[in-house]
């Protein structure tokens, strides 16, 4: 397999995905839920109120104290991990530099996160977002599925436009098992992404937004009178690039990212801006860890 070598996989297997705000599981997992339920481990007592399931009444306490108490049990559950990778045309960039190629970088990142999830017993589902023809993998559980995941990822290509808002809203509506969701995208979606994120959050997802940009997008170096052609949409823009304009562009990019970060902070979304010249393992082990999504 070409995405990762063995040593990297070992390193990844020591990590665990952390979700603070997701609490629903159907199978026993490796992590404890903060939701009280019908498990076996005792958690606490509370007073009985009308309508409570009488089966969960602690009759021993009732006999001793003659007061009805409901026994609360700690429920152990698994985590559903969703990895949504933007495979729109703009992700196939830069076309001539495989080192900083955004899609390759996103695939590696998705692979790594998926492997961490599978190794941790989480239910992992990967979706390659691409217009109307999104491709889905999973959900699967267990590290034995990692290889299949990597094979699926290697087959990915980036092309065509993607409406991030629409795609995310649709995904939220179809969700059967909300959980931790990572969206890997350059966010070059003219219609925006906020509504999609809101829809996901309202369905109980804990959202991590990994914003992938290539170095030439962060600091373009072209100059002169140009006609810029959007590789994703084919839109054209005429511009005369000089130092002042380039400086203005950097300023605009900065404020755009600041705006995204502020929005995410307000919504308790993990926002992780990434430039593809950063080594991806460094990203996993340091940047994403620092964001508190992985430990």
């Amino acid at each position: 397999m070409s995405l990762f070598d063995e040593a990297t996989l070992r390193k990844l297997e020591q990590l665990t995905l952390v979700a603070d705000r997701v609490r629903v599981g159907v199978m026993k997992g490796d992590r404890r839920s903060r939701k009280r339920g019908s498990s076996v481990e005792f958690a606490d007592y509370r007073n009985y109120v009308q309508g409570d399931d009488l089966r969960r009444l602690d009759w021993n306490i009732y006999a001793r104290l003659e007061r009805p108490f409901i026994k609360l049990l700690e429920e152990e559950e698994d985590l559903a991990v969703h990895l949504l990778l933007d495979c729109s045309g703009s992700m196939a960039w830069p076309p001539d530099d495989p080192e900083t190629h955004k899609l390759s970088y996103g695939l590696r990142l998705a692979g790594a996160l998926g492997h961490i999830g599978l190794s941790g017993g989480d239910l992992v589902q990967v979706v390659l977002l691409q217009g109307d023809s999104s491709r889905r993998w999973g959900p699967f559980r267990g590290r034995q599925n990692s290889l299949r995941l990597f094979q699926f990822l290697e087959s990915a290509t980036a092309a065509g436009p993607t409406n991030l808002n629409l795609t995310l809203r649709q995904y939220a509506q179809r969700a059967r098992r909300p959980g931790l969701i990572f969206i890997l995208s350059d966010l070059f979606s003219p219609d925006g992404y906020q509504d999609g994120l809101n829809a996901l959050q309202s369905r109980g997802y804990e959202v991590g937004l990994i914003h992938i940009l290539s170095p030439d997008e962060v600091a373009p170096e072209a100059g002169g009178d140009l006609k810029l052609v959007d590789v994703e949409t084919g839109r054209q823009t005429e511009i005369s690039l000089d130092q002042a304009t380039l400086a203005l562009y950097r300023e605009r990019l900065q404020s755009w990212q600041t705006e995204i970060a502020a929005h995410c902070r307000r919504r308790q979304i993990h926002y992780i801006p990434v430039v593809t010249d950063l080594a991806w393992d460094k990203l996993i082990l340091q940047t994403i860890r620092a964001a508190g999504v992985v430990k």
């Binding site: 830069p94 290539s214 373009p220 006609k227 810029l228 052609v229 959007d230 839109r235 203005l248």
Partner: protein, 611 residues
């Protein structure tokens, strides 16, 4: 508005290539990017911040087209028709004589005249040609058949009026030559009308543009001296050329000292003459007018007269009695002779201030008197000479070539006896077998001539050679006039004839300026006598410098002093009347268009870099 070069408008087709280049320039290089989202936002912001940015490119094209339009229009040479005095081939006769210095128009008539010419130059159209002739004492062509305005203006700026008499005959001859060969020639006479002389008919239309308004001028019209019965009389005439009676103060200075001052009342158009008896020995007289009323020409308010070439040569003859000598010094021109007896000299001593002392058979006293010396029949011994005896072998053996012997025909001169004289510093000019007869030399800055025999012991006084020899001797001892006349008019050629032996002639002008002329083979002359006043001459010789007299330059010219503006000018049978703006000139506006193009270019540059 019309165009002089309408074909230049074809250059307007260059707008095509400009628009083409502009469109080519808009075909930008395509560059793929991952997304134009941010770039579009950026452009939206920029356009919101500076709305004219969107227009910038169109503005540049517009400015470039405007520049082209301005340049093409300038090349097409548009002009406004304006009324002018003359057009076509114009020959301007610009009066630069003394009367044009009158100040009845500000600052003076000549400047007003040059302004008129300037106006004509500005109105010259493309095919017009202009010749400018400055009419002074010697008319000069300042510019010949020129169309270049800057050249004409440059030529005009170098012209100036001088207190001289204009030579209209020569000027008309030049104008006729300049107008020949042009069908549309117009001769424009810009003057105050003091045109005179035997003027030739002109081959072109003559237009007269009078300059000046007033005629008030008071002038010294004559100032002269003449000897009457041994006295020197000064005559002065003051003329009022104006239309009103004038009061004036006439001040006379004799040799730099105030001599007399009189108040005169001169009726309009009249001349008042006065006379004075001058002190003997007067060298130069200056007369000055101070008019009390209006007087628009200052050049004729002063006059100078020089008496006897400015060299008042006083001769003292010391003799016991010699009729020949007394007669000859009275007859020779330019000399004032005085006589004294040896006894009077011995008892009273000598007066100073004589240019030449003649010692006839008298022993010289010690110390020697000042000035040059002519010693005839020397006696005794002194610091100059020693008489050692008498010789009778007086046949002429040698006559040297000297200014003293010039034009003298000696024939068979008979001399009874002569003194044997030894004077080592002197050269023998005429030698006899027995010894020298005539010696001459310089000693202690003075010239000395020794005639070694008594005139009465020879037949020399009876010969024609005698006055010539004496004239030569006095001329050599104390040279006379080196100019022909004492009075000149401004601009006259003054010929100088320095005496032999002069190494230089120094001329001091009335304004104190000095000019040194070195005698050589060429004729010595000056003609830059533009200033009226007294010119002083100094001769430089081996022994030092000595005065060479004076000459005066005065504007005694009735035509120039009469500054009345003539309404018409009479040329032959024809009276030429005043000009009017009947022709149509052209005022070109291309310099303004060129300036507009320059400003537009600067604006285009600013728009380009500002963006």
């Amino acid at each position: 508005m019309s165009l002089l070069a309408p074909l230049a408008l074809l250059l307007g087709l260059l707008a095509g290539p400009i628009i083409l280049l502009y469109m080519l320039r808009l075909r930008r290089q395509e560059m793929p990017v991952s997304s134009v989202m941010l770039w579009e936002k950026l452009l939206r912001d920029r356009e919101a911040n500076a709305p004219w940015q969107r227009l910038r490119r169109n503005l540049l094209l517009l400015l470039q087209l405007l520049i082209l339009a301005a340049l093409v229009l300038a090349l097409a040479r548009p002009f406004w028709p304006i009324p002018t005095i003359a057009s076509g081939s114009v020959v301007v006769l610009l009066d630069g004589s003394a009367s044009m210095l009158a100040t009845d128009v500000e600052p003076n008539r000549f400047t007003a005249a040059t302004r008129e010419v300037e106006r004509l130059i500005s109105n010259l159209s493309g095919q017009d040609r202009m010749t400018i002739i400055l009419v002074g004492q010697t008319p000069t062509v300042l510019a010949a058949a020129a169309n270049d305005r800057s050249l004409l203006r440059q030529a005009l700026s170098e012209a100036s009026a001088l207190p001289v008499t204009a030579d209209w005959e020569a000027a008309f001859a030049l104008a006729a030559g300049a107008a020949q060969g042009f069908q549309d020639a117009t001769i424009l006479l810009i003057s105050d009308g003091g045109v005179r002389g035997n003027l030739p008919p002109l081959p072109a239309e003559l237009v007269y543009l009078p300059i000046g308004t007033a005629s008030e001028n008071l002038a010294i019209s004559a100032l002269a001296t003449r000897p009457i019965a041994g006295d020197l009389q000064l005559l002065a005439s003051v003329t009022n050329y104006g239309r009103q009676a004038q009061q004036t103060l006439l001040t006379l200075n004799v040799d730099g000292r105030l001599f007399d001052s009189r108040r005169l009342n001169v009726p309009a158009g009249e001349t008042t003459s006065l006379s004075w008896a001058l002190p003997p020995g007067t060298t130069a007289v200056n007369a000055q007018l101070e008019p009390q009323g209006e007087d628009f020409l200052a050049a004729d308010n002063q006059a100078w007269v020089v008496n006897q070439g400015g060299l008042n040569r006083r001769i003292l003859l010391i003799t016991a009695g010699n009729l020949f000598l007394e007669q000859i010094f009275t007859v020779l021109p330019g000399l004032t002779s005085f006589k004294a007896s040896p006894a009077a000299v011995a008892s009273q001593g000598l007066d100073d201030g004589f240019d030449l002392t003649v010692w006839d058979g008298v022993a010289l006293p010690e110390p020697l008197p000042d000035g040059d010396l002519l010693i005839i029949n020397p006696q005794g011994e002194n610091s100059l000479l020693r008489v050692t005896g008498i010789f009778t072998a007086t046949s002429l053996s040698r006559v040297s070539d000297s200014p003293l012997t010039q034009y003298v025909e000696w024939g068979d001169l008979r001399i009874r006896q002569a003194q044997q004289v030894t004077a080592p510093w002197a050269e023998t000019v005429i030698g006899a077998e027995g010894g020298p007869l005539l010696l001459a030399g310089e000693r202690e800055g003075r010239r000395i001539v020794i005639l070694t025999f008594d005139l009465r012991d020879s037949d020399l006084p009876l010969r024609i050679a005698f006055p010539i020899l004496m004239a030569n001797i006095t001329e050599w001892l104390n040279p006379g006039q080196i100019v022909e006349r004492q009075n000149y008019q401004p601009g006259d050629l003054v010929t100088l004839k320095p005496p032999p032996g002069s190494t230089a002639v120094i001329i001091t002008y009335p304004d104190g300026r000095q000019r040194t002329l070195i005698p050589g083979e060429e004729l010595l002359a000056i003609n830059d006598t533009w200033l009226t006043g007294l010119y002083q001459l100094t001769l430089r010789e081996l022994g030092g410098e000595r005065p060479g007299g004076y000459f005066a330059v005065n504007l005694f010219d009735q035509q120039e002093s009469d500054i009345t503006v003539a309404a018409a000018v009479q040329i032959g049978e024809t009276a030429v009347v005043q000009a009017s703006d009947k022709d149509v000139g052209q005022r070109e506006i291309w310099p303004w268009l060129a300036l507009a193009a320059l400003l537009l270019m600067m604006g285009e540059w600013w728009v380009f870099y500002r963006g």
